[in-house]
Symmetry: C2
Subunit: 160 residues, 2 copies
DNA sequence: CCAATAATGTTCAATGCTGAACAATAAAGT
DNA sequence: ACTTTATTGTTCAGCATTGAACATTATTGG
């Protein structure tokens, strides 16, 4: 009876797989947080920096969308980073509402060091997995991302 | 020059794979949060419930370790859940320091409903991935978890 | 041109998580 | 037995994140 319910849920291989994925993510985050302390930044700031590194001149709104966080989040975090001299916010010349974001020289340097740390961590911990296995996993995850994003959009369209 | 740095980091297949994994986790969390609103619980509470479902009579400390969160976290969250009638905390008879945790009838019912929602979500979004691919991913992730956990333990042993 | 609607960023209260300091209890060392 | 050390749970201040309400600026429709 109660055993049936339990086994019904826990014997699903996909369920167990996903639990492992989530746990691995959590642990990776923990270790990354520790390794970033020497640069005095935390993973959320690193995510911002990496996106500015790749997409210079992006707006706060676009950045928030890429990071899957709220706009208010950016409004709180970015002024801090600006005070620390990592980034710069300049108003768009055409649209006076938007602020465009740029890395300073210092910010670029910190970003490169932090990305090196993160890459090294990933390489180190994933080195025992064969490359083609990693690629296959990436493809699965990218399909998953597309599925989930479309689901999120549907939900926000139909608030019924 | 700057291009070299950029390509050095972004051409690492394992790096890109991991970024996809992290993003998928974030999205899954977002969707799960939405689908759990009908039960009026959030993912952190569900994690607690699932662990109590499987390990009745666990202590707060053990639970915190399983969830990879601080003890203080449990001290804040569990009294809330107790007030909502989902769980019960009873002092251990032998060791007066520890509080042992149990699901109430209501808590068990909510847990089963929530697990059904989560399982359905995972089955739905992962259904397009072949089962053996899921299993292979789970094995990779479990190896990764072991690696990361040992790394965390080393760090906390050598605070030098 | 002017009103209505939309988009961008900010502020604020509420929530969750953390790490450090603390109180009570247990275990170990003497 | 008694002092010291370790463990368990609590409290608290600090920080990140969210969603709602808001001000400013663009865009659209008349």
């Amino acid at each position: 009876m109660m055993n049936k319910n339990q086994s019904l849920l826990w014997d699903h291989p996909r369920f167990r797989s996903w639990i492992a994925v989530a746990r691995a993510c959590q642990l990776m985050q923990t270790v990354l947080t520790r390794e970033l302390t020497e640069l005095d930044i935390k993973p959320p700031h690193l995510d911002i920096l990496i996106n500015l590194y790749r997409f210079e001149g992006i707006s706060q709104q676009e950045l928030a969308r890429k990071l899957l966080v709220g706009r208010s989040n950016m409004s709180m975090a970015l002024p801090q980073m600006e005070k620390r001299g990592l980034i710069e916010r300049r108003g768009d010349t055409k649209d006076k509402r938007v602020l465009r974001l740029y890395l300073t020289r210092e910010g670029r340097s910190v970003t490169e060091k932090a990305m090196a740390i993160q890459t090294a961590l990933i390489e180190r911990t994933l080195s025992s997995e064969p490359l083609d296995q990693c690629m296959a996993m990436a493809e699965s995850m990218e399909r998953l991302i597309v599925t989930l994003q479309s689901e999120i959009r549907e939900d926000s369209r139909e608030p019924a």
